[in-house]
Subunit: 173 residues, 2 copies
DNA sequence: AGTATCATGTAAGACGTTACATGATTAC
DNA sequence: GTAATCATGTAACGTCTTACATGATACT
């Protein structure tokens, strides 16, 4: 039921099409929520049918942007206030690091270096995103909270990967 | 296909039953991987049928511990070396913080305080876990990598939540 | 004019959760 | 000896991914 809340969160901040949402799931939001287009489009239709969204008359190219309705805002508020967050996660980087003792130290370092590069690149992108916020908008003030969580998390991952590479150097053959 | 790799990772480190695994998914590993018992037990059976695991003769109470086979170790190594990690995640804490502008600043702070408490408690548990490692064992050396990732991540979340609470204080009504 | 990719969608199957069931063991 | 919870499991259902399809718009 939380894909629906993710979509509602994004469209509450500003109208968006299914395509726009797909781009964000591939980009900044990849560490927050993700879903494939084949899941997004039908869900948007259902939300429209349920009266949570309103269709706007076509954006650039053939896009269909949706806007949140009062009913949609109500559902979003209710979700925030009456349920608590699920903290279970899946993190393949960390899962793999638990298994690294079954490969050679050199192979382990190779994996860690790849991870380090990946997360450094994402950190750069997220910092750029933060610079583009307009903090006079309430939605952007909340987005700052989210982006800052991502930045601190990525900084932690980068620090970790650097430490892990050194640590693995010291492993006995 | 990664539930299988998560199970293989755990059982490679030391033999475990489905019940043991369930406890860990509820505890330390909650931020790494999670699965319900109803998914774990049948998967273990399938892995046994596929020759990746061997059944040991019953542990405490009626538990059935499994041990990894050579074939299982081979699959684990192949997964680590020939595929790359999926970095997409779902993080409900951050998702909710993107939506916080739709509730009152007081309600937003309430949410953030709850999150702060939760993550502080988990951080404490994870540090305790780190103290119990036996670093003469290769599997525990890899577990240290994983735990340290969790600790640094939780420290970042705690720092973030403290900052976010103060930030929301300064939001205009 | 022809190729790339944009934007949306459908259908099948894999994966994950919820609800429920059952015998076995420990605790009172 | 009754209650709690341990340990495993099955079946139905919901969510997510993969494979494929289609017309529309921009690019060269």
């Amino acid at each position: 039921m939380s894909l629906r809340m993710a979509l509602l969160t994004m469209i509450a901040a500003a109208p968006r099409s299914g395509y726009d949402i797909g781009q964000e799931f591939d980009g900044v939001l990849k560490f927050v929520w993700h879903a494939k287009p084949t899941q997004v489009y039908p869900e948007l239709k259902r939300m429209h049918a349920d009266g949570l969204l309103r269709e706007l008359d076509s954006g650039p190219r053939g896009r269909t942007p949706y806007e949140i309705t009062e009913k949609g805002l109500g559902e979003l508020r209710e979700w925030l206030l009456t349920s608590s967050a699920d903290h279970s996660q899946r993190n393949e980087t960390v899962l793999r690091s638990f298994a690294l003792w079954v490969v050679s130290p050199g192979e382990a370092r190779g994996f860690l270096r790849e991870e380090l590069e990946y997360h450094r690149a994402r950190l750069k992108g997220m910092r750029a995103m933060k610079g583009r916020l307009d903090l006079s908008r309430p939605a952007d003030r909340a987005a700052l909270l989210g982006l800052q969580a991502g930045i601190l998390r990525l900084e932690a991952v980068v620090t970790w990967a650097e430490w892990a590479i050194e640590t693995v150097e010291a492993w006995p053959r």
